[in-house]
């Protein structure tokens, strides 16, 4: 038996909509089998994964908090990836954005003013963009591959943050523990709705997604990104410069990652610590592709991925599976979603060898 793909004459709208649901159904079936094999009740397990986190208000807030950085970074990365620039160092840009944005509340903590918060967000974007400018410059002018430079700079950013919070930026009243001061009231991104912790970082994410969606769809810049991404040669004929595009896409995604960083620090953590991200910059790469590099798709993908994190915790408590099982389940879900997307562009046919042979003969 073989699996053959046949390209559809045009993208299937039906399967664009349907494929996530097929993937979901497959995950339920296979996930259920996995839980049953582990001796757990599959219904309870699946309930904790997909329903419980959505059934309470506080948990919905947590979902938004968890999804916000993933969406914001993912949206920025989609521009990069579409234009064929492989920024995989968003994690580092996230951290540098958080550091740059924290200059005001940490170093100039005395200064209290309503402009502090907007300035912090701005600094965060600048910090992220500047850090992304390093691989951008090296790619555009020194011909250095951005996959390596952006990835290596992640580790540098992590160690730099570590040094800052243990050394010069350490809270003088903090018993010498590796943390900065807690931000003042003016430097904290407020909550959006009174019923829970969701801060404005989630709004940033949604607004960014809509704006980028608009840009990609209706502006010349969006067209330029797509053309250059498909073929640098074709882009040149159209008068687009791939060097400028390297700069634009890297700085843009760096700025959004930086904004995500400072929004996370200001809204959720309210101080700098040695570790401020459980790998959001990397997870966002998955989110970007799960969302098919479409900003609105990325919103959905970010929410789904966040859901599996929350669901994983719920499952740990309700059925007592270890955290690794929840990670395997997450992997399973991702695999099904990714493979079901094949249906959008292709028809899948199972071909039995003998049957195929007869068919070929008939054709002769």
């Amino acid at each position: 038996m073989r699996i053959e793909l046949e390209k559809r004459p045009k993208v299937s709208t039906l399967f664009s909509v349907l494929s996530p649901f097929i993937a979901f159904a497959l995950t339920i079936v296979f996930g259920g089998i996995m839980f049953a094999l582990l001796g757990k009740n599959p219904v309870t397990a699946l309930y904790s994964f997909f329903v419980e986190p959505l059934s309470e208000v506080w948990s919905l807030h947590e979902l938004a908090i968890k999804a916000a950085p993933l969406i914001l970074i993912g949206v920025g990365l989609s521009v990069c990836f579409r234009s064929n620039n492989w920024n995989i160092g968003a994690e580092g840009q996230f951290i540098m954005g958080a550091i740059a944005g924290s200059i005001l509340p940490v170093v100039f903590y005395d200064w209290q003013s309503p402009v502090v918060l907007p300035l912090m967000m701005l600094f965060g974007m600048i910090g992220g963009a500047l850090f992304a400018a390093v691989p951008a410059f090296l790619k555009a002018h020194m011909n250095t591959n951005e996959i390596l430079t952006s990835l290596m700079l992640v580790y540098v950013a992590q160690l730099f943050l570590d040094w800052l919070v243990r050394g010069p930026w350490r809270n003088p009243q903090g018993m010498n523990f590796p943390e900065t001061r807690t931000f003042g009231a003016d430097a904290i991104l407020p909550e959006m709705i009174a019923s829970g912790r969701t801060h404005w970082g989630f709004a940033f994410a949604i607004v960014a997604a809509v704006l980028v969606w608009f840009m990609m769809r209706y502006t010349l810049r969006g067209f330029e990104i797509t053309v250059l991404g498909q073929s640098a040669r074709a882009g040149r004929f159209a008068g687009f410069s791939s060097r400028k595009m390297i700069w634009f896409s890297m700085l843009f995604s760096g700025a959004l990652a930086g904004l995500a960083g400072i929004a996370e620090v200001s809204g959720a953590i309210q101080q700098l610590r040695p570790v401020i991200s459980p790998g959001y910059g990397f997870t966002a790469i998955i989110v970007a592709f799960l969302g098919r590099l479409n900003p609105l798709g990325i919103v959905a993908a970010g929410l789904v991925l966040a859901l599996t994190y929350l669901g994983g915790e719920a499952a740990q408590l309700s059925i007592g599976v270890s955290e690794r099982v929840t990670r395997v389940f997450q992997g399973l879900l991702l695999f099904f979603v990714l493979s079901c997307d094949t249906l959008i562009h292709y028809r899948i046919r199972l071909v039995w060898e003998r049957f195929a042979a007869t068919k070929t003969e008939e054709a002769h």
Partner: protein, 356 residues
């Protein structure tokens, strides 16, 4: 919309209280772990403590835990989830959970919280810690007796007061036996990376240390020491299996005694917010058997352990100088707990520079 959400939240809160009340027959004691419960180090030690609670008080309490919880917003969510699921007493077992614990404690005044190794308390938040440095002092003395060259290697994780305190205590102990004793420090910048820890161990041994101690979590340094034929100390758990001819002793974290004590107080309604810093005498840390050393060294170690337990000996007692030779503690003066908990300077004899 806003009103609706508020109404929903209230309903949810009411429902939450009801379900918590109906589950009151068995009290729930919960734990938040920063690592995996089988990490062979820090988190595993806490989980063994949790199991001890189950064993000794299992008829009255049930325990639950969340593992691999990242510090930051994820920790806040994890703690809140436990508070909402009816846990009456919650232990948060990493320094990095401090602010998250305080925040959630404000939201749930009826739930009791205990935070490990921090310094912020509240009416319903207690802190607890272990005087690991007492064990390090004994290790230092043993090292000074056992080392031919008077030079030990110290694999450190991150420069936080806890680790600095341990380094100092080790050096003070060693210098009480051999005033010229020196140590070399390597910061691995990780708690948990066997490869990197092994590399650090090799680097130290190659630079001539003939005894090794570690403040990171895996047994990799012990394995390297065994391979190179030098002696070493274990960390967090008894690592004798990794070096049957190598391990001199190990500081074993035995949180169980504390967990049982506090759970009992909680059940009796006598729980209070305290800041406890227990030591060898309380059984919150124990020394693994003294092995691979001559009898006189063993006798010395046991005598020191007894003196520390009885309170006769306090490791941080003057006369002591700081690293640059300037005096720190006068003859007979002991350091107060506040200084120790925030320690960010070395004592004389450490060959390293702290990031300031």
């Amino acid at each position: 919309m806003k009103k609706l959400l508020v109404a929903l939240a209230t309903t949810a809160a009411v429902l939450g209280v009801v379900s918590a009340a109906s589950a009151q027959e068995k009290a729930k004691v919960c734990f938040v772990y920063v690592g995996s419960k089988t990490d062979g180090g820090w988190t595993q030690a806490h989980d063994i403590g949790r199991q001890q609670v189950e064993k000794e008080l299992g008829d009255k309490v049930e325990t639950q835990f969340l593992e691999n919880v990242p510090e930051g917003p994820d920790a806040e969510r994890a703690i809140e989830r436990l508070a909402r699921s009816g846990c009456g007493l919650i232990f948060t077992t990493s320094f990095g959970f401090m602010d998250a614990t305080i925040k959630i404690a404000q939201k749930f005044p009826d739930v009791k919280f205990e935070h490990a190794t921090g310094y912020k308390t509240a009416p319903n938040v207690a802190t607890y810690n272990s005087r690991f440095y007492e064990g390090r002092y004994i290790q230092g003395q043993i090292a000074a007796k056992m080392s031919q060259k008077g030079l030990a290697g110290y694999i450190a994780s991150f420069p936080i007061p806890e680790v600095v305190m341990g380094i100092n205590s080790f050096v003070i102990g060693a210098r009480s036996v051999n005033p010229d004793f020196k140590i070399k420090v390597v910061w691995a910048n990780t708690w948990f990376d066997p490869g990197k820890e092994a590399d650090a161990a090799k680097a130290l041994i190659d630079q001539g240390v003939d005894i090794l101690t570690q403040h990171t979590d895996t047994t990799a340094p012990m394995q390297v020491a065994a391979e190179r034929g030098i002696k070493a100390f274990g960390q967090a758990s008894d690592m004798i299996a990794a070096g049957p001819q190598t391990q001199l002793t190990a500081i074993v974290d035995t949180w169980g005694a504390y967990y049982v004590k506090r759970t009992q107080a909680f059940l009796d309604g006598k729980w209070e917010s305290t800041s406890s810093w227990d030591g060898l005498k309380d059984g919150i840390l124990t020394m693994a058997p003294y092995t691979n050393m001559p009898d006189d060294v063993k006798a010395m170690a046991e005598a020191t352990e007894a003196k520390i337990k009885s309170g006769e000996l306090k490791p941080f007692t003057g006369p002591l100088n700081k690293q640059d030779g300037s005096p720190w503690l006068k003859e007979g003066e002991t350091a107060d707990d506040g200084t120790l908990l925030g320690m960010n300077f070395y004592v004389e004899g450490v060959d390293d520079k702290l990031p300031q």
